[in-house]
Amino acid sequence: MPDPVPAPGALAWPAETRVVGHSTHRIDAEAKVTGRARYASDIQADGWLYGMILRSKWPAARVAAIDLAPALQVPGIVAAVPARDGERTIRFYGEELAAVAGKSKQACLDALRAIRVTATPLPFVVREDDAKADGAAPVWDTAANFIPGTPKEQGSVDAAFGECAAVVEGFYTTPVQIHHPLETHGNTVSWTDDGVTAWASTQGIGSVRDGLAGALQLDQSRVRVVTEYMGGGFGAKFGPGVAGILAAKLSRQAGAPVRLMLTRFDQALAVGNRPSSFQKIRLGALADGTLHAFDFENYGTAGIGAGKASEGGGGGANLPMPYIYKVPNVRTKQAAVAVNAGPASAFRAPANPPASFGMEGAMDDLATKLGVDPVAFRIQNDPNPIRQREYKVGAEKFGWAQKYRRPDPAALALATAGPIRRGVGCAGANWGGGGNKNTGAEVEIHSDGSVEVRLGVQDIGTGTRTVIAVVAAEVFGLAPEQITVRVGDTRFPPGPGSGGSTTCPSVSPAVLDACTNALRQLQTQAGLSDIRDAKGANWAAACRKLGAGTVAARGMWQPGLSSSGAGGVQFAQVAVDTEIGLVTVEKIVAVHDCGRIVNRVTTESQINGGIVMGLGYALYEERVMDPASGVVLNPNFETYKLSGMADVPDIDIVLLDMPERGVIGIGEPATIPTAAAIANAVANALGVRVFSLPITPAKVLAALGKVPSPTPA
């Protein structure tokens, strides 16, 4: 008997799946490996112009006037617009001043040099500690750079510490991290009498449409946003941004489409980052190993994103502490500090990686002090049963029992030990996520058997296009490559923004609903000719019954098919060269849960991606500001260092299948615990902790006490 088509309102994932949960090659892989895929930065609309932005070379300044006339005199230049009209205050190095559009990149470069800016430099401050100090240059006129947060206390922390058998303390710091997708932010925008079309490198086509409509005072219905392919976002690519709005204004002035992609330099300055953190942690446990008291003070900078509402960690500098652990007595005090630097934005699992780094470091140090195994200590104090299971599975896979040795600083002194020390560490992650109920999808079945699924979502590299094909193929009994998936257009039914690990749990139910509705319609028509099951082998015959007609059906996200709340744990093994300070991550074992897996291979790729990004956070990445000039010193890939091919460890991934929970996203949790696990492994190897990310050779050697003092000037 064929599977019955579910009745309306009783949508569920099939008990047995043929495609869902297995591995399907990315359906757009061929377009990507041949160069055929058109990214936002590849768009060459008819008559397109090149666009570029002039940025402030001052970290703070009062701008009196911007003279664009000389730029318009440059041969090939067609349009020039100021970023804002009238006098204004610049608050960070790299803030947008004006933009130009012209017939070549060269013309734009010449035009930017020709623009005359009349400005008075203002005092500035770019370092967190400097900005907190009395008399620091004010970043905002309306609020202090730093308003100490109000302590929040639960239980009785001071008394509780007195009851602890062991207490550890540490001052943990994490740097400002830059997203740096390989394709920079940007758009091609065409503004004609018919409205605006933007080909955007975005994580949210709807957010670009709404942002452009608002900024340009157009009806949302007259703005179309297209994102067929885009080169990564990681949280920073929502809305049109200043660049998108300027591109639109240039297009209107020029009467031609304008492609305005940021340069790598631009990318490092003005379109988001992960705030820094300076975490003072005190953690205590009772003699039986139960966590008992936690005291936490933290500040961090979100650049100019902090300050206006800095108390409590404005701008994303607030950390969820004591993270995943149950502690009865907790006191936290957090604040953001404003500096003259580009504003923070969402960045893959906002606030979680720094929280994990601080908390998991304290956990390991406390385990060492108590003389207990760090994995057992976590299982004891982390109330989440899934993570408890993940620790057990991961420890087995990793060989934790064989590899873990209690750190022994004395062993370092032994000359026979050799320069290479190995260590292991682990850490856990937690993330919410969940589906967006406003997600729709539409399906069209043609009489030749071909199928189109259309959804106004964008595939940011996570495999969303393929996920849609997988779900549709499952319903129709077809192969994923038989499904034509069209995404990345605001003319399609609304899709979610791709952030917060919500895309897969948003689109999967909507596509399941739409395809189920379509199949029901097809079955009704085909059933007239005695085809009892239109799927699979009967598909072509059933579709032929459509004759000159088609099946067109829509669907919406439905409850019960997806869920939120994904955890994960990671184990790291490192080798540290104690003479030159280099950390080599040799192995990562990652155990994650994400409910029902839709496409296994792309899920695993997401975890690889989280780990590789976490590796960079652990060892290489740091925005460096110069306190004297106020500039970002490393607005490039030369000294803002990303994990490279030679740095990436062997990675073993274990996915806990829990189809009964429904579909849950995986993008964020995969990156949360990596840096903490690596930092713990380094501490385990050295017998001393490096409390500051990134863990560079300089910091390793300093922790080992090998660095001579500076020569007095």
Binding site: R26, K32, D42, H179, L182, Y229, M230, G609
Partner: protein, 221 residues
């Protein structure tokens, strides 16, 4: 187009008027499959240009891309990447940094991988340039492209053409690489999505070997 042109149209730019007139006949962008003829023109151009100062305004530049000839009018300061992506339509070659640090712009110059962002188009004349669009023949993916697709060595895909070019060059020089060889050969390419483990597997698969991806320590072992 924005600086005073010391070689106005009627000046003998390339030695003779007739040569200039002939080249102008190619138009701004002309693609011709008559490679032998145009290669000879490129060689002649190179010789005629030698020891002559051209620019800073636009000058004729002839590039040989994927076996086809591209006749462009470019300022000397235009990079090969800019000429491919912005002046022409070879957008498979990506711009990630424009500073020879990310590898997204990797093309093959006479078979060797180079960063097209840090080479002037005018310098690339007379060389065979291969972009990602020039790999698959008659729609058939190369083993490297096929393996990248099958091993999920592409995520957002923006870095992928550069990795494919670097890997293609590696396998030509070293058909049986170790994981460490692959990591080394692709160390000039960055990926922010995290495809690196898959890239190692894909290149080893393309080489017909096992798909163990090795560890960083292998590099210096």
């Amino acid at each position: 187009m924005n600086a005073p042109d010391p070689n106005p149209d009627d000046a003998p730019l390339l030695g003779t008027h007739s040569r200039r007139a002939f080249l102008k006949g190619f138009g701004a962008i002309t693609i011709s499959a008559a490679a032998s003829q145009t290669q000879a023109v490129a060689a002649e151009l190179e010789k005629l240009n030698a020891e002559k100062i051209v620019g800073p305004g636009p000058v004729p530049v002839t590039l040989r891309v994927n076996g086809e000839t591209l006749s462009l009018s470019l300022e000397p300061r235009v990079t090969l990447l800019d000429a491919l992506r912005n002046v022409s339509t070879y957008t498979g070659t990506k711009e990630g940094c424009d500073r020879a640090t990310c590898g997204a712009c990797t093309v093959l110059l006479d078979g060797a991988p180079i960063y097209s962002c840090q080479m002037l188009a005018i310098e690339a004349q007379g060389h065979a340039i291969t972009t990602v669009e020039g790999l698959a023949q008659d729609g058939k993916l190369t083993p490297v492209q096929k393996a990248f697709a099958e091993r999920d060595a592409t995520m957002c895909g923006y870095c992928t053409p550069g990795f494919v070019m670097a890997a293609t060059a590696l396998l030509k020089e070293n058909p049986h690489p170790t994981p460490a060889d692959v990591r080394r050969a692709c160390s000039g390419n960055l990926c922010r999505c995290g495809t690196q483990p898959r890239v190692v597997e894909a290149v080893l698969q393309a080489a017909g070997g096992a798909a163990d991806n090795g560890t960083p320590g292998d590099l210096h072992a």
